[in-house]
C-alpha cells in the first residue's frame, strides 16, 4: 500500500495542531502536506498586503511551529511535503515586495521545511510567459529563483518541486508554467546535474492538468522518477475547484470526466512509490463542518482504492 496524505489547511489549527493531526490520522492518513502557504495568502500577495509573517527570524519561526511538529509526531503523522507561499514574484508588484518574497519568505520556507524533517517543498514557477513572450523565457526566470535556493536546498536535503500551473483569459483556463513534460524533465535533470543532488523535482497537480487537458498518463510517464509529489484533486474542467476525485461527469453515461485511469496507469508505469496526497482543502469547507471526519475518511478510501490499483 502506498501511504496517503492530505493538506493540513482546514484541519490543523495553530491553537491545537495535535488535534488536527490526530483527526487526519484517524481518518486514514499517515502523511500530511503542510500548508505553509496558509501563513502568507496568495490573494494578499497579489494585493500587495504582505503580512510579514516571515519577518521573524528562523528561531522564532521554529518556536512557532514547534507545537505543530510535536503534534504531528504524537499523532503518528509524517510531514511528507509542504507548500511554499505563492506567487514568489508579482509582475506588477513593487520591487520591495518581490525582494521580500525572494530573500525572506523563500529561504525561511526551506528552513521551516527542514525543521519539520520534510523532504519536499512545492514551489510555483513564475507566470511571465505573456510578458516575456515565451515559455522558455518564463522558465529562465523560474530557474534563476531555483538557483538562488538550490545551495540551501542541497545543504538541508530538500527537493524543491515545481508544479504544473495554469493561467486564465476571462474564465477560460490556459496552460501556465511547467506544463511541458518533456521540457520539464530535461530542465530538472540539467539543474540536478549542476548541483550533484536532487534539488529539483516535480509535483504533478491533477486538477491543474485536468483544466488544461493534459494527457495525464503521458505526462507522468515522461516525468518518470522526477515526479516526487502529488496534488490529487478533481474539477469540472472549467474551474480550479480542488474537489473529491470522481466527482464530475460531462456526459449521459455519468462516467468521470477526469482521466483517473490514465493517471493510475502512468503512476504504475513509473513505479511511483511516493505518497498519494490529496490537495482538497476546499472540500472541507464545502461540506458541513460536522462531516469533516466523514469527508476525510472518504478521501482516504479513495486513496486506498488508488493504491489498490498498484497491486501488492
Amino acid at each position: 500500500m502506498l501511504e496517503l496524505g492530505v493538506q493540513t489547511k482546514e484541519i490543523v489549527r495553530d491553537e491545537d495542531p495535535e488535534q488536527g493531526f490526530r483527526l487526519l490520522r484517524s481518518a486514514g492518513f499517515s502523511c500530511a502536506d503542510f500548508s505553509l502557504n496558509a501563513y502568507l495568502l496568495n490573494l494578499d500577495i497579489y494585493d500587495a498586503h504582505l503580512n510579514h509573517f516571515f519577518d521573524a527570524d528562523i528561531e522564532e519561526l521554529e518556536r512557532f511551529f514547534m507545537p505543530h511538529k510535536q503534534g504531528a509526531v504524537r499523532a503518528g503523522v509524517r510531514i511528507h511535503q509542504m507548500h511554499m507561499p505563492y506567487p514568489v514574484f508579482v509582475p506588477r508588484g513593487t520591487n520591495e515586495d518581490n525582494a521580500y518574497l525572494w530573500h525572506q519568505m523563500a529561504p525561511k520556507s526551506l528552513r521551516i521545511c527542514a525543521f519539520f524533517g520534510c523532504r519536499y517543498l512545492v514551489v510555483h514557477g513564475f507566470k511571465l510567459a505573456r510578458e516575456l513572450g515565451s515559455e522558455d523565457a518564463e522558465w529562465a526566470q523560474t530557474e534563476e529563483f531555483v538557483h538562488a535556493l538550490a545551495p540551501l536546498a542541497k545543504e538541508l536535503g530538500i527537493t524543491l518541486c515545481v508544479e504544473n500551473l495554469y493561467s486564465a483569459l476571462g474564465s477560460h483556463i490556459l496552460e501556465g508554467p511547467c506544463c511541458k513534460a518533456r521540457k520539464m524533465a530535461e530542465r530538472i535533470d540539467h539543474i540536478n546535474e549542476q548541483y550533484g543532488a536532487e534539488v529539483l523535482g516535480f509535483c504533478f497537480d491533477t486538477g491543474h492538468a485536468n483544466l488544461v487537458g493534459i494527457d495525464m498518463e503521458e505526462f507522468v510517464r515522461t516525468l518518470g522518477p522526477r515526479l516526487k509529489v502529488l496534488h490529487l484533486h478533481d474539477n469540472d474542467g472549467i474551474a480550479d475547484l480542488h474537489q473529491i476525485p470522481y466527482t464530475f461527469a460531462r456526459a449521459r453515461e455519468n462516467a468521470s470526466s477526469t482521466d483517473w485511469e490514465g493517471l493510475l496507469r502512468g503512476l504504475r508505469a513509473i513505479h511511483f512509490a511516493g505518497v498519494l496526497n490529496f490537495e482538497t482543502a476546499p472540500v472541507l469547507t464545502s461540506f458541513p463542518a460536522d462531516m469533516k471526519e466523514d469527508v476525510l475518511r472518504f478521501l482516504a478510501r479513495i486513496g486506498r482504492h488508488f493504491s489498490e490499483q498498484f497491486g501488492s
Binding site: V90, P91, G133, E144, G213, S257
Partner: protein
C-alpha cells in the same frame, strides 16, 4: 503569401448550399475550405457509414457543394476530409476510414484542392500504438495522394474523456514534428504538412505558440476560431468573450505565426456563430468575419510589413512608439518619428528623434510611414491631405513579441 479561406460550416448547408455559398462569395471571399465532412455528420456516419447507397448520396452532396463554390467563382485550394470526431469509441476500423479518405482525395482533386486535412485515425490504444498505427495509415495514403497531386495535412487532435476534451495525438510539438518528418522521409518527398486547428487546442487550454514555432515551415494551414473549455465549439474569433476579454489566446497564436513568418492559409471557422445567426443577417456576419480575418492577417504580417520597405519613419511619439523601439527598433530602425504635438519636437522617444510632421515632405518616395497611434484613420487622412505619396502602413502594439515584466530580484536568497 498568406491567404484567407472561409470555412462553410454553419453558413452553407450541405443539402442546399447555394444561398450560403452565395453569401460567402458575396462577402468577398475568393477562396473557401472544401469541407467534405459536412455531408457526413459524425453520428450519422457512425450509424450509416456501412450503407453504400447512403454513402454515395452523401458523396454526391459533397460534389455538389464543390460545384456550387466553383460556380460562384470561389476557389477551393484546401479540403477537409470526413472523420469520426474526438471520441475513440466512435471510430471504425482503419480500413473503413482509409476508404473515406481515398474518396476525399479524389473528390478534393476534382474540386481543385491541392491540400487535404486528414485527421489521424483514433482508437482506444496507447499513445505509442496509436502513433504506430497512424504512421502506417498515413503512409498507406501516399500513392493515392501522389497520383492526385494532393498534399495531406495532419491536424492536432483533442480526445474526449467521457465528454471532457483533453489533448489528443499531435497536440504536442515534438510529436507533431517528428511524425510529419518521419512520414515525409518514408514517402521520399514532402507529401505531409500540418494544419493547426484552434478549435481543438482551445478547449484543452493549449498555448499554441510553441506548437506553431516548432512546426515552422511544416505549418500550411491554421483554422481560426474561438472556443472555450466547455466543449467542442467554433466561434467567430473575438466573439468568445467573458469578463471583458476574448477568452481565446490570440496573443500566443499571433506571436507564433508572426515569428515563423507564416505564409499558408488562414481558415476562418465559425460553425456555431454562423449557425446561431438568423440567415437574414448572414451577409452582415460574413462582412464582419472578413474584417476579422483581415485583422488577424494584418497582425500576423506586422513584422513582414516592417521588412517590406527599405526605409521607414513613424508617426506618433507615445507608448506605441516606445513599444516599437523596444521590440523592433534594432531590427527595423526608423529614420525618425513625428508627432502633431509640437511640445515633443526636438525631443527623443525610445532613442528616436521626434520631428514636425512637415519633415515627412522631405522623405524619399520609397520610405514608408508607419502610423504608431490609435488614431490611424485621422492621421492617414492628414498624410493624404499633405499630398504625400509615400506608402502608409499601420503599426500596432497589441501583440508584441514581449511586454514589460517588471524588475526581477537579484542575488542569492
Amino acid at each position: 503569401m498568406m491567404e484567407v479561406l472561409c470555412a462553410p460550416a454553419g453558413l452553407a448547408a450541405w443539402e442546399h448550399p447555394r444561398q450560403g455559398v452565395g453569401d460567402i462569395a458575396g462577402a468577398g471571399f475568393s477562396q473557401a475550405l472544401f469541407d467534405m465532412a459536412l455531408p457526413f455528420p459524425v453520428k450519422e456516419l457512425r450509424r450509416k457509414g456501412h450503407d453504400r447507397a447512403w454513402l454515395e448520396r452523401r458523396w454526391q452532396a459533397a460534389r455538389e457543394l464543390g460545384r456550387q463554390f466553383r460556380q460562384a467563382g470561389v476557389r477551393l485550394p484546401l479540403g477537409y476530409a470526413p472523420h469520426f470526431g474526438y471520441a475513440a469509441a466512435d471510430w471504425p476500423e482503419v480500413s473503413v476510414y482509409r476508404s473515406l479518405i481515398e474518396r476525399s482525395i479524389r473528390l478534393g482533386q476534382e474540386a481543385g484542392c491541392r491540400y487535404l486535412v486528414v485527421r489521424p485515425w483514433l482508437a482506444q490504444l496507447s499513445r505509442q500504438e496509436l502513433w504506430a498505427r497512424n504512421r502506417a495509415f498515413y503512409l498507406s495514403l501516399v500513392d493515392c495522394a501522389r497520383e492526385y497531386g494532393v498534399v495531406i495535412l495532419l491536424e492536432n487532435q483533442a480526445r474526449s474523456v467521457h465528454g471532457h476534451l483533453v489533448r489528443g495525438v499531435l497536440s504536442e510539438a515534438e510529436e507533431a514534428v517528428s511524425l510529419v518528418d518521419e512520414l515525409n522521409e518514408a514517402a521520399g518527398e514532402t507529401r505531409f504538412e500540418f494544419c493547426l486547428n484552434m478549435g481543438a487546442s482551445g478547449p484543452c487550454g493549449m498555448n499554441v505558440q510553441e506548437l506553431v514555432q516548432t512546426l515552422d515551415g511544416r505549418l500550411q494551414a491554421v483554422i481560426l476560431c474561438d472556443s472555450d473549455s466547455g466543449e467542442e465549439r467554433q466561434l467567430l474569433p473575438f466573439t468568445g468573450a467573458g469578463r471583458l476579454v476574448c477568452e481565446t489566446d490570440w496573443l500566443s497564436a499571433i506571436r507564433g505565426l508572426r515569428a515563423i513568418a507564416f505564409d499558408g492559409w488562414l481558415v476562418l471557422g465559425m460553425l456555431d456563430t454562423a449557425a446561431a445567426f438568423p440567415p437574414l443577417l448572414r451577409p452582415q456576419l460574413l462582412a464582419l468575419a472578413r474584417s476579422v480575418a483581415e485583422y488577424i492577417l494584418w497582425q500576423v504580417e506586422m513584422e513582414k510589413a516592417l521588412a517590406r520597405y527599405p526605409r521607414r519613419v513613424l508617426f506618433g511619439a507615445g507608448n506605441m512608439c516606445r513599444n516599437y523601439m523596444r521590440c523592433y527598433g534594432e531590427q527595423y530602425p526608423p529614420l525618425f518619428t513625428c508627432d502633431n504635438n509640437s511640445a515633443l519636437w526636438g525631443k527623443e522617444v525610445g532613442g528616436l528623434a521626434v520631428k514636425n510632421p512637415e519633415e515627412l515632405r522631405r522623405l524619399p518616395e520609397d520610405c514608408a510611414i508607419f502610423i504608431c497611434n490609435i488614431y490611424y484613420r485621422e492621421i492617414e487622412a492628414q498624410l493624404r491631405e499633405m499630398g504625400l505619396k509615400n506608402p502608409v502602413a499601420y503599426f500596432n502594439d497589441e501583440c508584441l513579441p514581449h511586454f514589460y515584466a517588471g524588475r526581477l530580484p537579484e542575488g542569492e536568497a
